[in-house]
């Protein structure tokens, strides 16, 4: 995949005088020229508000916007583009379900099942809705190898269970979530299943019809696309039943002073001027990934992740926080380095041109569960090369030196 790097202008940058080794793709990915140019081209040639216009620019913008919807829908194997709602990102997508479905349908005593490895985006909205409705949160814990422990699952699958929401891949440990098992469990009691796919859709071939969940939430900026846009895929019957969370223009067929009629899906969930340029960029990102092929992306990440795991295993004092088996994990690698605080690790690596994250990664419940205050995290994508890993490993040795661990 090395040849793809030329498409990513930022990768030519020097950081602190060093070659940039960008290992923070779980936070956000870099963008190829194809995406950046699609956005510029939109603003330079056919920028207009959508749906409401009878002029040429409005028509072109609408066609591009709806065309992007079709591309993204096809990318995840949706049977119809109506099932694909553009949102502002994964966080917005999950909040949309929480307010649109949860707030209107949950009652005291109803239960929402999460796992302790969820990102705050898949925890806090449910806390808010639980407070508003009297529903309760229930959590699955983890096994010793950082996977969701299903041994307690049966004890929480009963008629009180209304919603299960689980991450497709942890943004801390890289572990895949047990989506298939949870879908099966949900079916037994008629609960709906939401997949926080922020980390899975960008890295794994995805076929929503095969997954069998009711909702999938993901963000463009984590899959080569622009910031400011994401998607919520929902099963048609469920979307049709779900109430809109936000109200405003474009999502109605009629508005009277005291009541309104909603537009058909997906528009009833898209209140206000949508992120039009961002949809165009999202479409271009999906085109790019389609061209590379998602199984190639996964293959590359398996290779680079295995290489990273092997090289990190040779760094003294380093403890991996995540599964070692490449078959159950993606290219997000968290670790601790002796008593060097992750923040210090990140500063030292940054001096070497290596960009990693340090902290709680918006997963404080997981950090508490694992009893680690913070981790350093390196995360990969299709443009990551072994040289990036080598540069990081060299930086880790330097950190050990500075902190006198050698």
């Amino acid at each position: 995949m090395d040849h793809l790097r030329a498409d990513f202008p930022i990768l030519e940058r020097k950081v602190n005088g060093k070659r940039l080794a960008y290992l923070d793709s779980s936070a956000t990915t870099q963008k190829p020229n194809q995406v950046i140019d699609a956005i510029g081209d939109y603003y330079r040639r056919y920028n207009s508000n959508v749906h409401r216009g009878a002029h040429t620019l409005a028509d072109e913008a609408t066609t591009a916007y709806e065309g992007a919807r079709t591309k993204v829908a096809e990318f995840i194997g949706a049977s119809s583009s109506d099932e694909l709602v553009f949102t502002r990102g994964t966080t917005s997508s999950i909040n949309m379900i929480a307010y649109g479905w949860g707030l209107n349908r949950l009652h005291p005593g109803d239960r929402i099942l999460l796992t302790v490895m969820e990102h705050h985006a898949n925890v806090v909205p449910w806390q808010l809705i639980a407070k508003h409705t009297g529903a309760e949160l229930v959590y699955l814990e983890l096994t010793d190898d950082f996977r969701v422990d299903l041994s307690t699952l049966d004890s929480v699958v009963d008629e009180r269970l209304k919603i299960i929401s689980v991450s497709g891949m942890s943004n801390v440990t890289g572990a895949f979530g047990p989506v298939a098992e949870l879908v099966e469990a949900a079916r037994r009691v008629g609960a709906i299943v939401i997949v926080d796919a922020a980390q899975s859709v960008p890295h794994l071939p995805t076929d929503v019809t095969a997954i069998g969940a009711d909702f999938l939430a993901f963000s463009a900026h984590k899959m080569l696309g622009p910031t400011g846009i994401g998607a919520l895929w929902g099963r048609r019957e469920i979307l049709e039943k779900m109430e809109p969370a936000e109200g405003g223009g474009e999502m109605i067929t009629d508005v009277r002073l005291y009541e309104s009629k909603w537009a058909p899906i997906p528009h009833k969930f898209e209140a206000g001027t949508p992120p039009i340029a961002q949809a165009v960029g999202f479409g271009a990102a999906v085109d790019y990934l389609d061209k590379v092929g998602m199984s190639e992306v996964r293959k590359h990440e398996i290779e680079i992740t295995q290489y990273a795991l092997d090289r990190l295993a040779d760094v003294p004092d380093l403890t991996l926080v995540g599964p070692t088996d490449i078959a159950v994990r993606g290219g997000t690698v968290s670790f601790e380095l002796g008593d060097v605080h992750p923040h210090d690790v990140a500063t030292i690596l940054d001096q070497e041109g290596v960009a990693v994250r340090a902290g709680h990664h918006c997963a404080k419940p997981l950090m508490r569960y694992l009893d680690v205050p913070a981790t350093a995290r390196a995360s990969f994508y299709l443009y990551t090369v072994k040289e990036d890993i080598d540069q990081m490993v060299a930086g880790l040795h330097r950190a050990r030196e500075i902190f006198g661990l050698v």
């Binding site: 605080h341 210090d344 500063t347």
Partner: protein, 151 residues
């Protein structure tokens, strides 16, 4: 090189062996600080008698810079009057250029003005880390505000 200036030995020493670590169970003023962007935490217990910080206890969790800054701060303020502590805080903030004004540290006489704390000067070259160094001091300001309100 900048990294060596940042991670001076004395900083690593305070990081690994924080002074005045613990908490107070008797009458005291308490404050807690947190840096939401990185998760670093620092908490402070003070006993103030006749305007003097007679006892200081700290607890924290976080990077070497925040924790060393807290340990050095505890050393520097213990036994000082509230006014002296305010003067130290002000000098510290000038040194870190968190406040506008001239750096009070005298390069000719290392340690003469702010003692061990002067080792934190290297942080100035790492602007993102200044908030780490500042966390204990923001917590201190909260605790002193509490003391003032109480008296």
């Amino acid at each position: 090189m900048a990294l060596e200036e940042l991670y001076r030995e004395v900083i690593l020493d305070h990081y690994r062996n924080p002074r005045h670590k613990g908490s107070l169970t008797h009458a005291h003023f308490h404050a807690e600080g947190q840096n939401p962007s990185c998760g670093d935490e620092f908490s402070l217990d003070l006993v103030i008698e006749d305007g003097v910080l007679v006892e200081v206890a700290t607890q924290g969790q976080g990077c070497s810079i925040s924790q060393a800054s807290g340990s050095m701060m505890a050393d520097a303020i213990k036994g000082k009057t509230v006014d002296e502590v305010k003067a130290i805080t002000s000098k510290f903030k000038l040194m870190m250029s968190i406040e506008e004004g001239e750096n009070p540290v005298d390069p000719a006489r290392p340690g003469a003005v702010l003692g061990d704390l002067e080792a934190l000067q290297g942080v100035r070259k790492f602007p993102v880390r200044i908030k780490c160094a500042d966390l204990p001091w923001a917590t201190l300001a909260d605790a002193l505000d509490g003391a003032q309100t109480a008296s």
